[in-house]
Point group: C2
Amino acid sequence: MGKPKILIKNLYEILQSEKFDCIRWTDNGRAFIIVDPEEFQKSIMPEYFYSTQIKSLYRQLNSYGFKMRSLEINQKMFSHKWFIQGNISSLYKVERQRTKSIAHLDKEKDSIVIMREEMKQLKEELETLQSQQNSILKQIRIHSIIQTYICKNIKKICDEQKKFNLEREQETRLVIYFTSMFEIFKGFQFEIASNIILQLKDIGGPQTPSFSPMIFPYM
Amino acid sequence: MGKPKILIKNLYEILQSEKFDCIRWTDNGRAFIIVDPEEFQKSIMPEYFYSTQIKSLYRQLNSYGFKMRSLEINQKMFSHKWFIQGNISSLYKVERQRTKSIAHLDKEKDSIVIMREEMKQLKEELETLQSQQNSILKQIRIHSIIQTYICKNIKKICDEQKKFNLEREQETRLVIYFTSMFEIFKGFQFEIASNIILQLKDIGGPQTPSFSPMIFPYM
DNA sequence: GGGAATATTCCC
DNA sequence: GGGAATATTCCC
């Protein structure tokens, strides 16, 4: 339990003391009326408050959350949820209210909290990105290795092809050789010779390579 | 040009008026001394200031940046860069100083603004990174497809090669066979020779493939 | 009625 | 000496 603020305590005391006619509780004790502001200012304020201006008191009451109602000319009635006759134990609840400008500061603080959250999220996203990046780099390295391997093998194939083409030429030469042999065999029965030649003709492998070189981007 | 604050103006007036003995300028006019604080409080404060406590005045002067020096018991000397006898035009420069706690708040605000800026930038950078990463992933996918395609084609080539090599071996063998046959059959009757040659048609070549299939990761 | 500057008091 | 709560004044 806090203590009631001085202002509130003084106000309550003034109202209770019944020494003053210029201020009084309403009948139900849930509000008070400053009946004679001028008198109040003259006789009470110098004793109980710092200020000599009753307007200052109004301002104070306002900042403590009192509701003000204007009655007859110059008479004001003030009421506050926790400022009730006989209810001393709730007086401490009558507190200054935060001004909007201060509430604004609170909002700023909230926005810092939010920003911290966002920052945390950003960091996490960044970490995700970084690890993704790492795995991408690994993938690229793998692809690079595979490509090197592919290129080597293509080279092998091409060499093989080349060698083979050379051999094939030799082969052709052999055929020519054979043919000329048959020339030599002139005088032999023609059927026999032609049979041999026919045989040789079929022995030749596929003549046109079915291999057409593809275009590889990485060579 | 601003106007001097009431407190400063009053203080200067009091000092200039020479009506009061309890406060006076120093000889060089760059400071003033409250010679008799009690007298000052009693006779001057009620008229010129809100407060009746001289300590409040000290507090005020402090918050306006006056330097205080204690002289003899109870005597205080105050000085301020811009509070100089005869120099009325600089009085307006004597201003309340922001309390450290408020300056601190200002710093906080500044740092929030900076943080917001940084946050915004970070977000943008992150987005750039993410979109770049996405396009990199797409590229990798394309490369992967190309590699698969390449590998498939190499396989085709290898199969072809294999098939071809088998045939070739048969061929080569036949040629060697023939050649040696002709050597052997020299002088034999041609009918016999041709019969033997017809037999050779059925001879299967060697079965072992000279080609060892490559291992491709994407097959 | 209430924001904001200034003043006062309280307190370490 | 100065931070911080409270009060007062000024002003829209």
